[in-house]
Symmetry: C2
Subunit: 343 residues, 2 copies
Amino acid sequence: MTTHTYHISNKKIDCIFQASISQLENYAADNAIVILTDSKIASVYHQQLSAYRVISFEAGEANKIQETVDQIILQLLEMEIDKDALLVGVGGGVVTDITGFVASIYKRGLRFGFVPTTILAMVDAAIGGKNGVNIGPYKNMIGTILQPWFILYDYSFLQSLPHEEWVNGFAEIIKHACIKDPVLFASIQQHQLSDYMQDTELLSDLIQKNVALKFEIVALDEMEKNERLHLNFGHTIGHAIENTYQIKHGAAVAIGMVVACHLSESLSGFDLSQTVQIVQLIKQYQLPTGIEMDVDRIIKLVLADKKRAGKDIRFVLLNSIGEAAIQLIPIETIRTHLIEYTS
Amino acid sequence: MTTHTYHISNKKIDCIFQASISQLENYAADNAIVILTDSKIASVYHQQLSAYRVISFEAGEANKIQETVDQIILQLLEMEIDKDALLVGVGGGVVTDITGFVASIYKRGLRFGFVPTTILAMVDAAIGGKNGVNIGPYKNMIGTILQPWFILYDYSFLQSLPHEEWVNGFAEIIKHACIKDPVLFASIQQHQLSDYMQDTELLSDLIQKNVALKFEIVALDEMEKNERLHLNFGHTIGHAIENTYQIKHGAAVAIGMVVACHLSESLSGFDLSQTVQIVQLIKQYQLPTGIEMDVDRIIKLVLADKKRAGKDIRFVLLNSIGEAAIQLIPIETIRTHLIEYTS
């Protein structure tokens, strides 16, 4: 077990690596803990969770909505949970997003922590304090930014992770490498997904590097005015694709990164050979690089994006692998590019 | 026009007294402002609001629910409102509570300010950053604490305020006097409601005193660990009565204050003669001092109160008029007292 304590604004967040969920006892008595989790985790890990009160709900992006939040809050009220309790989200990004949001608004705020159980949640969703739910076709439009008390990494939960969820998580790892870390990029180029699935040490090292990278960015800019925006690389188009075509987040982000690479070639002098390297790496990790899309529907959702500034979109481009930059891009430029790209 | 700037944690809140709503121009361009208001205000003050985009909804405690918040958020998305906009809640406590909550969670946070249009909102609801909505029979169980940028006092809105809303607001003024200010208590003893309704100078002085008093308490304890709890005087029982019997907030708080006075006599040596003075003042301002109640229903809601600590309730008692204190009271003591009180 290794604990790193990261600092964001004036808050401390403990990251406990190679831990066991039983170590929640370091944060609260078992009877003060309420676990929020999805019904699959609740069933498969019934024994590991038996010491705690558990509220479970159906996982999946379709359930990342206010109705789920309301149902959880009503259950917390029925259980007479007061403000001294600790909420712990055990699950993937949907669970950690919902847990953070519930903890932000239940009785105006409770302490909370995460036990991420997917690669995507471990390297991305659980980190940085962003939480929230979707409304209609609009993704993450309701939420707050509030940091968890701790993130506990118990890799035994990965034993039940489906293959497609491993693939899903690697999109964010590739994103991290693209925007910030050419050494990380070279390192994942040299491996296959199966290497990380078979070698816990190799995986743990990868996860800790990605956690450190994301905390470094969030610590510089918790409120997402500058550097944190870089983490949206691939996400502006990615979110719109994800919501329109109901594909996995990682798959949508992978396609969004390819679009952003091509835009970077036009607008920030990004080298075509580096686009080729990124496309190759995305394929190497079994992620898609394109999709047939209805450009008008995509553009409508892009216009609702939180990163919008008037008629322009704050878009993340690459200068080179490992170096991102924000450009304000007119929506018409994006539309034209998407039409070319999909024709 | 007078502006006082109050400080809470590291935030500044401007209070602009004897102002006109047109002075919103000091905070944002008209086209960057979205007014949230109730349908009555939107109709009566149509002309004063004509410079702005307006989203209106039905007022009333029954609409202080998540569905209203969701409808507003969908309208903001349809209007393509981005994070640079300013939300301004123009209305009573329901409007300011909903505006603060929407601004806390829409795209993870927008700037917001208030133009309170009721006595209750002017002296209480608009101040202190608490916001939120009800869920089922549970009051204010969903929300955040986030301070507005400004509170603008335009007394011309009081011209359309119904008499019962004037009465409603004075319950919180009496509460302020009871917990913190014997001089204020003596001053309102010497007047009638009609005095304040007829004399804007007298009213403005009263409002500014109450605003200063509430800000002083909130500044000491934004997160409601100690001193801010005093503002719940009359509210623990009051909220339960309000939700059970659908009476006005001020009426419920008045009854709750009488219950708390009697409990104070038993538990903190509060003098019976001071209870008599408070009961007299409550009657003088046309508020009720009692109601026939179903004790079991009330107790169930008290147990769900946010001020609960395990099996005890953090209850606000009075030592004397102008001096409040918190005591942990077993729920059974409260039950016994309510049974005696209502028999």
